[in-house]
Amino acid sequence: MDRLLLGIDALAFLEEEGLPVLESSLAKHVDAAVSIASRMRFPVALKISSPNVVHKTEFGGIRLPLHSESEVREAFHELADTFLSSNPQANLEGVIVQKLGKGFELIVGTMKDEQFGPVLMVGSGGIFVEAINDTSFRLIPIEGTDAREMIEELRGCKVLKNQRTMTVDLATIESFLLQTSTLAESHPEIHEMDLNPVFVSADGIAVCDARIRMG
C-alpha cells in the first residue's frame, strides 16, 4: 500500500535521515503555537497540517511572515477557521510553526522512471517551478561532479553565483544533492519525493516542505 508522508511527518523523516530541515513544530492549540514561536524567535510561518490538504498554498493554508505573538495568535485562528469551514468532516492535526525560510528557493526531488529507474532532479523553485521548467536531472546515484554540473545547468544558477544578490556556497547545494541521492538509494521504498521549497542562503540550506510517497 502506498503511503504519503506530508508536512511535519515528511520533515521529521528527512531530519532523521540527516537532511537539513527548517526548524518546525506541530501546535495543537493556539497557546502552544505562540510559545513555540517565541522560543524559535521571530519571524515564523504558520501552516495548516492535515492529511486532507496536500497543496497548502493553493488551499490558502499558509500565513507568513509573522513577527509577533499577536500575529501568530491571529494567524492560528484564521487558519483553523478557514480549514474547518471548508472541511467540516476533516481532521485538523494542528498547525505547524516553522522558522521562516529565506534565500533562493530550489526544488529537489526524486522519482522512479519506467526505463531509467530512480532519478534525481534539482530546479529553480518558487513561482518558477512550473512556469520556466528550469530543471536538471541525473540518474541516482550521483557523484560530486554530477551535483556540480546539475547546479550549473540551471539558469537560476546565475542568481546563485551573483555576489551582489547572493552569497551562497554552491558546495552546500552539492552536498545536499548527494545526500538526497543517497537517501533515495538507501530507501528503495520511496517512489517519489518533492522537497519543495528548499531554501538556500548564506546561512546554509534547509528543506521547508516535503511530500514523500512510499510503498
Binding site: 526505463q115 531509467f116 511530500r211
Partner: protein, 467 residues
C-alpha cells in the same frame, strides 16, 4: 565486457549469406552485391535452397552443407524461417549473425514480438550475437567488408569514425553525407531491434578492441534498458570520445504524477542528464553529429578555449566571431609579438586584432600563410578558425595551402577551415588539406565554430575521465 565475441562478427574470415539470390528484387541479391563489389577478401558462401550459381559462386542448399567454418552469417530469409536458420547457425558454430530480416517486434502485429523473443532464446542457447533484426547490416571499411544491403556504402572512406545507429535510414543518410564531406569511417553499424547486441556491448567493442575507431558517434531513438548504455559509457569515459544525437525530444512527461518532480520529468530531460553523467557529448542535429565526429577524428584537442578567427573576407570572420561565445569558446588575445607580426603583414585598413581580416593580403597566398603561421604560434591561441571564400583573384590560395600542409609537421593545434568555392574549383586542393596534420574542413563558419566548441567540450569531458 564480453565485447570480444563481436570480433569475428565485424571482422569475419568467412561469410555465409542465407537467402542469397540472383533476383534484383531480393535483399539477398543486394547483400551478395555488397560483399562482392565491396571487395570482401574472405570466403563467401551463398546459401540458397535451389542450389544454383549465385553471383557466380557455387551456392549451398543449407548452412549444414557448407564444409569449413563460418564466422558470420548474414540472414535475409523471411521472418518465419529465421528460428530454423538460427538453430543451424548455432549447430554450425557460426560466430555472429547479421539479421537483416524485418517483421519482429517493430511491427504492430503481436506475433512479431513473440517471434523476437523466440529468436532471442535460440541465440542465448548458442551464445550467438545477433546484429538486428531489422537492420541494414554494417560496413567495416577498415577490414573491407560491406555486410549490408547497400553496395554503394562500400565507397565510404576509411577513417576513425564509428557510427552506431538505431536506424538504417539515418546510417544511410550519414554515410552519404559523409562521402560528400570526406568523413572517414572505421565502422557504420545498424543495430536494428537490438535483439541481443545493444549499444553497451558495441561501445565496449569499439573502445577496447577496435584500434581503427578514434571517435564514436551514436544515433539513438529510445532504449529499453538505457542504464546499461549509460553505465558502459561511464566506465569507458576518458578513453575515446563518444557523441550522440537523441531523437524523440518530447519534453512532456507521460507520468500522471501529482508530484512536481514526476510531472516535470520528461523522458528527454532525463536523457540529457544521463548523457552528461555518462560523459557523452550530446549534439543537436545530424549535421553537428557528423561535423563533430570529423573534427574529433582529424584535429588535436585544443589546450584551451581561446580561438583565433582568420578570414580572407571580413563577413565570414564576423559570423564566426558571433558564434564563438555561444559555443563556449573565447576570441583569443594575441601576444604583442604576434600582433607585431600581423601588423607587418597587413596595412591598418583592415581589422587586425581577432578576428583578423586578411582581405588586404588577397593577392598574396604567402602573406596569408605567414599570417596563419603567426597566429598558429601565438601563445594566447588554442585553436584557429580559418576561412577563405574563393574569388578569381585568390585562385591559387587553396593550392598554396595544400602545399604548405604537405611541408609542415603536425600542427599541434586544431584548425577548422571553411574553404568555399564553385563546384570543381579547389576540390583537389581541399582534398589535400582536409583531415591532414590537424586540419578539418567544414562547410560554413558557424558549423566550423560549433564543431570547434565541441572539440573543446570533449577535451573537458576526457580530462574529467576518472571523475
Amino acid at each position: 565486457m564480453m565485447s570480444e565475441r563481436l570480433e569475428k562478427l565485424f571482422c569475419p574470415d568467412s561469410v555465409a549469406v542465407v537467402g542469397a539470390s540472383n533476383g534484383f528484387d531480393k535483399l539477398g541479391y543486394h547483400v551478395m552485391k555488397s560483399l562482392i563489389q565491396g571487395k570482401y577478401g574472405g570466403e563467401i558462401f551463398p546459401v540458397n535452397p535451389k542450389g544454383e550459381i549465385v553471383w557466380g559462386l557455387h551456392s549451398y542448399p543449407s548452412l549444414r552443407d557448407i564444409r569449413g567454418t563460418i564466422d558470420l552469417a548474414v540472414i535475409v530469409v523471411p521472418a518465419s524461417l529465421v528460428p530454423q536458420v538460427l538453430h543451424e547457425c548455432g549447430q554450425k558454430m557460426v560466430k555472429g549473425v547479421v539479421l537483416i530480416t524485418a517483421g519482429f517486434r517493430e511491427i504492430e502485429d503481436q506475433k512479431g514480438g513473440v517471434l523476437e523473443t523466440e529468436i532471442r532464446n535460440i541465440a542465448d542457447q548458442y551464445a550467438l550475437p545477433i546484429l538486428g533484426p531489422n537492420t541494414f547490416g554494417f560496413v567495416n571499411p577498415t577490414f573491407e567488408i560491406n555486410a549490408s544491403f547497400t553496395s554503394e556504402l562500400s565507397l565510404l572512406e576509411k577513417g576513425g569514425v564509428a557510427l552506431v545507429s538505431q536506424s538504417g535510414g539515418i546510417a544511410h543518410l550519414c554515410g552519404f553525407l559523409a562521402t560528400e564531406q570526406r568523413i572517414g569511417f572505421s565502422k557504420l553499424i545498424g543495430l536494428g531491434n537490438r535483439c541481443n547486441v545493444d549499444f553497451a556491448e558495441v561501445l565496449g567493442y569499439l573502445v577496447e578492441r577496435d584500434k581503427a575507431t578514434k571517435v564514436i558517434a551514436l544515433y539513438l531513438e529510445g532504449l529499453d534498458r538505457p542504464r546499461e548504455m549509460v553505465e558502459a559509457a561511464k566506465s569507458l569515459r576518458g578513453t575515446k570520445p563518444i557523441i550522440a544525437y537523441k531523437a524523440g525530444k518530447g519534453e512532456k512527461s507521460d507520468s500522471a504524477s501529482r508530484f512536481h518532480t514526476g510531472s516535470l520529468a520528461g523522458n528527454y530531460r532525463i536523457w540529457r542528464g544521463a548523457f552528461r553523467q555518462a560523459g557523452i557529448l550530446e549534439v543537436s542535429s545530424i549535421e553537428e553529429l557528423l561535423d563533430t565526429a570529423k573534427v574529433l577524428d582529424s584535429c588535436p584537442p585544443p589546450g584551451g578555449p581561446r580561438i583565433a578567427v582568420l578570414s580572407s573576407q571580413a563577413g565570414p570572420g564576423m559570423v564566426a566571431s558571433d558564434a564563438i561565445e555561444k559555443s563556449g569558446l573565447k576570441l583569443s588575445h594575441f601576444t604583442a609579438r604576434t600582433q607585431d607580426r600581423i601588423n607587418s603583414l597587413l596595412p591598418p585598413i583592415a581589422m587586425r586584432t581577432n578576428p583578423v581580416d586578411m582581405g588586404p593580403a588577397w593577392y598574396s597566398p604567402q602573406d596569408i600563410l605567414d599570417l596563419f603561421e603567426a597566429v598558429l604560434e601565438d601563445e594566447g591561441t588554442d585553436g584557429i578558425i580559418f576561412m577563405a571564400m574563393y574569388a578569381s583573384a585568390n585562385e591559387n590560395l587553396a593550392n598554396e595551402i595544400a602545399q604548405y600542409v604537405k611541408r609542415v609537421d603536425f600542427l599541434g593545434k586544431p584548425v577548422v577551415a571553411c574553404l568555399s568555392a564553385p563546384r570543381e574549383i579547389w576540390n583537389d586542393a581541399i582534398t589535400g588539406i582536409d583531415k591532414r596534420k590537424g586540419f578539418a574542413v567544414l562547410p560554413t563558419p558557424e558549423r566550423s565554430v560549433v564543431a570547434m566548441g565541441n572539440l573543446w567540450r570533449v577535451k573537458l569531458i576526457m580530462d574529467n575521465g576518472e571523475g
